[in-house]
Amino acid sequence: MSRRALIPIVTGIPLAMIAIFVVASRWIVPNATRQDIMTGVTSPGTAGHLFGTDQLGRDITQLAIAGAGSAVVGPIVIALGSMMIGIMLGTFAGYMGGWLDLLLSKYADLLLALPTTLVALVVTGLIDGGYWVTVLVLIMLFSPTDIRMVRGSVIAQSGRPYIESAKVLGLGRLRIMFRHILPNVLPVAFSTMLLNVAFALVSMSALSFLGLGVGPGVPDWGRQLSDSRDLLDRNWGSLVLPATLIIITAAAINLLGDWLQERFEERSVQR
């Protein structure tokens, strides 16, 4: 068993744990947002508070478990949404070419002319959007790279003999695009989507770190980190726990996505 084969196990354990938090946090930590002003900030190791409490006396550990939902659900929706746009538009642009292709590539150029962080910050900040508006904005910002990716693999597939045969058989364009080319693009699309989840997770928590996206009082890792700046000298747990959770989650998803991508590439070479 090679070392690379360990990757799904090593990344799977933390990801499974996060998944459990996302689904079941309301039963695991029903009182995560309960405030206790009298307690105030306490350091890690205080009785009953493994990582201490924040300025409102909320337990850091419980808050972090409850925050898994807003950290992960939005990014998954972003990755799914932008890949759906990518598959629809990228397939058409790649297979049909022409003005649609040109228009889409210009749109992608325009969006790629600015850093994602900046555009997301400006747009969501100015329109005062909540969580789902932020998700929508990020879908728009993520889609150009997905369109390009799908377009590229569709073009690579279009030249293959099986597509030539399909054309000779007189199959319709839509049928060739979505029944024959698409299944061969999906594996790459899936691994790209995974990498996008990690990227979106970092972007979304960055926005909530800047005070955008998640409403006040909602448990969220980015918000916890932003709060922790004022608590550093009194409770290091408020920084270390959410920071570690974000880094581990993003790294695990990235490693898994990378591993999948390599496997798919190996398989397509072997064929």
Binding site: P115, V240, A251, D258
Partner: protein
């Protein structure tokens, strides 16, 4: 001899001519892109919910007279296109209007803060190049070695790790716990300024270095797989000679990507400046967005876009100038 010489001279001139043409075309495209972006940036004022005049008033007491004077000043009653052209004219003269939050012109506000952001970006860029490029070359030279594997895994973690989380951790460890570096602020200028910028620059460089490492490694590996390397080896060229050949070729894509990385630094500075409470352009943008200080937001967005577009242009021209293969493709 003479004809051969003049022939060579002629081809040189021609290629230089096509380079000029290439630059002109790319300049026009860049100008067009910036024009479209300027339109979008201007439209932000009207896309922001609420009455533009009220948004421009900010927290001052809203009186009908004040609203009227703002409408007059920003020509808000004119048709949209003429407003845009007026605004664009001012922008081209370096006038972005007045900041709503601070009662100064946007230009003074920006010029006070731009140095720090440039210093931060420059220091992180130097760090990135010094760390990532040598490591990328070393890893590519011995693929599968312990060094290659460990740095590759570290770079995957580095790419994914959010800047501000890394920054806060560094701040806690080196600033508060070990007490080596200052915790917040930008220092008193001179050496103190650079000392304050060390942690922020390392933070910013950590993510970028991961990216540049990956790019360098890929470029060198691709070059090592070229036929000419196998040929040079079989001809018995020394290890050192082959290395210099490979590196010279691999550095073209690396240098290209470095240009784009530099542009991307400006997105990263926002989070790092906020994390370390540095008074730069990035933290100004973050503050201005939450405050809806639109003239400042417009100015920073447009300036960043311009810097990035010009960097991309410079990178393209560089690529075109140093790599004859691209030139051939372009002239076809």
């Amino acid at each position: 001899m003479d004809t051969a010489h003049s022939h060579r001279r002629l081809t040189q001139l021609l290629s230089r001519g096509s380079l000029t043409r290439f630059i002109v075309v790319r300049l026009a495209a860049t100008g067009l892109l910036l024009l479209v972006l300027s339109f979008v940036v201007f439209a932000l004022l009207h896309l922001t919910p609420g009455d533009p005049a009220r948004n421009l008033v900010g927290v001052r007491n809203v009186t009908p007279e004040l609203l009227q004077s703002i409408r007059d000043k920003y020509h808000l009653n004119d048709p949209f296109m003429s407003q845009y052209l007026q605004w664009l004219g001012n922008v081209l003269h370096g006038d972005f209007g007045e900041s709503i939050r601070n009662n100064t012109t946007v230009t003074t506000l920006l010029s006070d803060r731009v140095t720090l952001t440039l210093q931060l970006a420059g220091l992180s860029f130097v760090l990135t190049v010094l760390i990532a490029v040598p490591l990328g070359i070393a890893a590519a030279w011995r693929t599968g070695s312990v060094l290659d594997r460990s740095v590759s895994v570290a770079s995957i973690v580095g790419i994914g790790a959010p800047t501000y989380a890394v920054g806060l951790l560094l701040l806690y460890i080196f600033g508060l716990w070990l007490d080596i570096f200052p915790v917040y602020g930008s220092g008193d200028g001179g050496f103190d300024r650079w000392w304050h910028l060390v942690l922020p620059a390392i933070t910013l460089a950590s993510g970028l270095a991961a990216m540049v490492f990956k790019l360098t490694r890929t470029a060198v590996v691709a070059e090592l797989n070229q036929d000419y390397v196998a040929f040079a080896q079989s001809r018995g060229l020394s290890h050192r000679q082959i290395r210099s050949l490979v590196l010279r070729n691999a550095m073209i894509p690396v240098a290209t990507s470095l240009g784009l990385v530099f542009a991307f630094l400006f997105g990263g500075t926002i989070l790092v400046e906020v994390t370390f409470a540095l008074q730069g352009i990035g933290s100004l943008l973050a503050g201005s967005v939450t405050f809806k200080d639109l003239p400042v937001v417009q100015a920073i967005t447009l300036l960043t876009a311009t810097v990035i577009a010009l960097t991309a242009l410079a990178v393209d021209v560089f690529y075109y100038a140093v790599d004859p293969r691209v030139r051939k493709r372009g002239s076809r």
